[in-house]
Every structure is written in structure tokens, then in C-alpha cells.
């Protein structure tokens, strides 16, 4: 099959049927398939082979858990119970730490006016809502893949996002929907990127579009990916915190690289129940840095220290600078 006549290779066509092609190539494959009788024949051949293979079924006898497994299971669970004797202390420590973090966050919120726009009305609304545990995964997914791609792109001006790599959230985590050309990566973050003690950590409505520049794609994106993987794997917050700490300790997670930043200029995002789509802004990432080095939170300074990573397991300082326009060039509300 010549690629002059067929824009996709036969192997790619097979991958399309297996659901293994990225969205952009899948769309191309589908468009071509509708017109090409040769490829339609190949498709029918692949389907035929799969159907014939399904003839080979294996009837499994109805057997329960064997006595050997039962014994091993009993032994393991007994050991586990014995090990629990030393756990209460640890548990108390974790709980204490949580309260310390929660307290620290409250102090930070008061001290820095919590990122620019929290009104008392919004705070009341925030307290009134609650997301004590993870909702079903479906609630965090965007059913229309193209809609998520468009939302991700809306984080930055088209001149940046049109050539950016686009990630979308699937059942198994973030996956590449469109390959990029300029080193930027656009995606829509979910609520679990909020501080672990945030009341909205499990808010399924959160859709936070952002575009990482190449430096942040190398150093901040892995953190989002890791948190997402852990959430989808069902880890507890304590386990996630431990894992992130270990990740930074063993260098699995990088510290922010020089110049790491991202665009958050979407007017269609939803950052949390308190601020909605917030205001368009840029975020800059550093290894732990004193906020005074940026003049953050000083009177009339446009720079704010974002509490996202404050007192969390990530050794990252993040500054926020609001900008005057949304990514589509329209004027943003005056803060």
C-alpha cells in the first residue's frame, strides 16, 4: 500500500481498530476509511480474524479459593493485624500533620488575602459545599474529547496553544491527544492538583486549563501526571503525600527548571467554587524561594504567592501575576 494513495499505513489502520491511535491520527484514519475501499477490505479482514479467534473459548470450571490460598491469605492478614499495633502512633502523626497543614493554610489564606479575589461571600459558599471523597471517575472526565482539547487550548493565546502538545484525561490518566511542535503542553487539570487540605480537593466540577512552557513541561507536568496516576489508582491522600515526598527525595520528580511557567488565560475554566474561572494570569515556578525576592503580596504589587504548594510535599514556590486579557484577546475584568 503506497502512502501516496493512502495517508495512513496499514499498521496504523490496524492500530486505529485497536483504539491505539491518538485522536488526531484516528480522525485522519476514519476520514480515509470512509473513502477507501481497499482499506475497508483490510478492515474487514482484521475484524474477520478477530472474530474467528473468538471461536476458541475456554470453559473454566467453577472453582473457589483453594485451601492453600486461604491459608496464605489468613497468614498474611494475621501478620498485617500484628503490624497494625505500631500504626496508631503513625496515624496520629499524620492526622496531626494534616491539622498543622490545615492551620497553616488558614493562616496563609488570611495573610495573603488568598489569591486576589476571595470575597467573604465566596468563602461562605466554599464552606457550605463539601467534597469529602472522590466522586466516580466519570464525573472528572470530559465525555467529548474535542471539547477537552479546545478547553486545554483556551489556556493560552492561539499563537502558543495551536502548536502545543495537548493532553486529555482518560480512564488511565492523561494521554496525548495531539502532538505538539513548540514544546508547550496544554491540558486541563482536575481538582486533585489543589492543596491536599483544600475542601475542594475532590470537587469534580474543577476544570483548570493551563499551558506549560517547555521548562514547566519538563519539571511541573510530571507532578500533575503523578498526582493523577495516584488518584486513579485509589491511593489515600497520606499515601500520595508520602509518595510525592519520596519522589522529590529520590529525584524521580524534578524541581522546577529555570524559566518554568504556565499560562492560565482561559475564560472557560473553572478553578474552584469560590473563584469560578478566576482572572487570566500567568504562573511562575521556582524551587522553594522567599516571596520577598519577587515582592509578592506587598502593597500594590501585582505578584502574589500562590498557596497551591505552600506547606505541601512539593518543594515548590509559585507566583501568580494577573494579566489584562483572556486568551482570546478580550479584556478581562479589572481586579
Amino acid at each position: 500500500m503506497s502512502t501516496n494513495r493512502h495517508p495512513i499505513e496499514q499498521e496504523e489502520l490496524m492500530a486505529y481498530f485497536d483504539g491505539e491511535l491518538p485522536a488526531e491520527q484516528a480522525t485522519e484514519a476514519l476520514s480515509h476509511l470512509e473513502l477507501c475501499s481497499e482499506c475497508q477490505t483490510l478492515a474487514a479482514d482484521f475484524r474477520g480474524v478477530s472474530q474467528e479467534l473468538m471461536a476458541w473459548e475456554v470453559e473454566s470450571p467453577e472453582v473457589g479459593i483453594s485451601s492453600e490460598i486461604n491459608a496464605a491469605l489468613g497468614e498474611r492478614l494475621q501478620k498485617r493485624e500484628a503490624a497494625k499495633v505500631s500504626l496508631p502512633k503513625l496515624k496520629n502523626r499524620v492526622v496531626t500533620n494534616r491539622w498543622v497543614w490545615a492551620g497553616a493554610l488558614a493562616i496563609v489564606c488570611v495573610a495573603v488575602g488568598l489569591t486576589l479575589t476571595l470575597t467573604s461571600r465566596n468563602r461562605n459558599a466554599d464552606r457550605a459545599t463539601g467534597y469529602p471523597s472522590m466522586a466516580s471517575i466519570e464525573q472528572y472526565l470530559v465525555p467529548d474529547r474535542n471539547a477537552e482539547i479546545a478547553l486545554a487550548r483556551s489556556a493560552a493565546p492561539e499563537a502558543i496553544s495551536n502548536d502545543a502538545k495537548i493532553l486529555v484525561l482518560g480512564w488511565r490518566g492523561y494521554e496525548t491527544a495531539i502532538e505538539g511542535k513548540n514544546g508547550f503542553v496544554c491540558m486541563v487539570e482536575r481538582s486533585w492538583i489543589l492543596p491536599f487540605h483544600s475542601a475542594q480537593f475532590w470537587n469534580p466540577k474543577v476544570r483548570a486549563p493551563l499551558c506549560f512552557n517547555p521548562a514547566a513541561a519538563q519539571s511541573i507536568l510530571p507532578l500533575t501526571i503523578k498526582r493523577t496516576e495516584m488518584v486513579l489508582a485509589g491511593l489515600s491522600k497520606a499515601q500520595m503525600i508520602d509518595s510525592i515526598k519520596a519522589g522529590f527525595e529520590n529525584k524521580e520528580l524534578p524541581v522546577p527548571g529555570p524559566g518554568a511557567m504556565c499560562y492560565m488565560m482561559s475564560r472557560a475554566g473553572y478553578l474552584n467554587d469560590a473563584v469560578g474561572h478566576f482572572v487570566p494570569h500567568l504562573m511562575f515556578y521556582f524551587p522553594l524561594t522567599d516571596k520577598s525576592s519577587w515582592g509578592a503580596d506587598l502593597p500594590d504589587s501585582p505578584v502574589t504567592l500562590n498557596p497551591q504548594f505552600r506547606d505541601g510535599p512539593e518543594p515548590i514556590t509559585e507566583f501568580v501575576i494577573p494579566v489584562g486579557k483572556w486568551s482570546d484577546g478580550t479584556a478581562a475584568p479589572v481586579m
Binding site: M14, D18, A55, V58, R80
Partner: protein, 191 residues
């Protein structure tokens, strides 16, 4: 429904119910895995149980880096490799395996099995992991420690080869073709 990964972590945390749920979800698929690769239903059942034993013994070391599904088939592949090594060193096993029990096996199943046996072993394994275990290309690549592109190209070759073998078989036995490839309640492999 609780995810497999969440169940695995619950089991790691001491939940027997979580293990029982995983057992219920994966006993039949694992039996099918071994059943198609060994001509011995008893060993298929033994190895299925051994897979779960390995899960119990390694539970404290489990890390949710991969899907539980992939993790289980990773264990199953190791057990299968050990079984095959054992089989190669046992003359009695070799004799008994040389002639798989086909009594009562429908012709269309024999036909598929024979066609599969004509594939190169690595390509056959990839095809089976994809078609029967429904693993993704990247899961297969991870389990077999080969690049994803290799998985794709071998899968492509094996499907084309299998199609050719099946067509050639259909020409030889035209009556079989009409019944193959369509779901039928009586179509069961007996192993």
C-alpha cells in the same frame, strides 16, 4: 464499581473482601490465559491458583505503577515460562503434551488452534495477549519488555499470517469456514 487498583490497595491494607473480589474478577480470565497456552486443564487451574498465591505473597511490595490487570498477567507469564521450562526437562510431560486432548473440541476451534500454532512463538504471544487478554499495546510492550512499535509490527504480521493460514484451511475444508467466526453457544474449547 471499585477499581482493581483500589481493591489491590485495600487488600494491601488488610482487606480479605478486596482479595476475594479480585479473585472473582480474574480467576476465569487467568484460567483462560493458561488454558489456551497449555494443553492441560488441571495445570491451568493449578497455575491460576498459583498466580493468586503470588499476589498474596508479594502484596506488601505491590506499587500502583501499572494496572492490576497487567500486574496479574505479568505474574502469569512468569509462571507460564517456568512451567514451560519444567515441561522441556520432563520427558513424560513432553509425551503427554505432544498430543493435546481434542476429543469433543469443535472443528472450528481446532482450526484456529492449528493456525495459531503455525505462528512464530513471539508473534503468537503478542496476538494472544491482544485478542484474548485484551491488553493494550503499551501493556504488552511492558510485559514482554519490547518497544511498543515492535508490538505493533509483530501484531500486524501475525494477523496477516493468521488470515492467510485460515484462508488456506478454508480452501481445504470449505464446510468449516461457514461456521467459524460467528458466536455459537456450543463453541467451546475443551483443552
Amino acid at each position: 464499581m471499585t477499581s482493581d487498583e483500589a481493591l489491590m490497595l485495600e487488600f494491601q491494607g488488610g482487606s480479605r473482601a478486596a482479595f476475594e473480589e479480585l479473585f472473582a474478577r480474574y480467576r476465569k480470565p487467568l484460567y483462560g490465559f493458561f488454558g489456551r497456552r497449555l494443553n492441560n486443564p488441571e495445570r491451568a487451574e493449578d497455575l491460576t491458583q498459583e498466580t493468586f498465591l503470588a499476589v498474596i505473597r508479594a502484596a506488601s511490595r505491590y506499587e500502583p505503577r501499572a494496572l492490576v490487570r497487567t500486574y496479574l498477567y505479568g505474574i502469569a507469564l512468569k509462571l507460564l515460562a517456568a512451567e514451560r521450562r519444567k515441561f522441556l526437562t520432563s520427558s513424560t510431560s513432553r509425551q503427554s503434551a505432544a498430543e493435546p486432548n481434542t476429543v469433543g473440541t469443535p472443528d472450528c476451534v481446532l482450526w484456529v488452534r492449528q493456525a495459531m500454532e503455525r505462528l512464530d512463538a513471539p508473534e503468537r504471544e503478542i496476538l494472544m495477549l491482544r485478542e484474548y487478554e485484551q491488553l493494550s499495546y503499551s501493556d504488552i510492550a511492558e510485559l514482554l519488555r519490547i518497544p511498543v512499535n515492535t508490538v505493533r509490527s509483530r501484531l500486524f504480521r501475525s494477523r496477516l499470517a493468521l488470515k492467510s493460514y485460515l484462508e488456506s484451511e478454508a480452501r481445504t475444508n470449505p464446510g468449516l469456514r461457514s461456521s467459524a467466526g460467528q458466536p455459537h453457544p456450543g463453541r467451546r474449547g475443551t483443552q
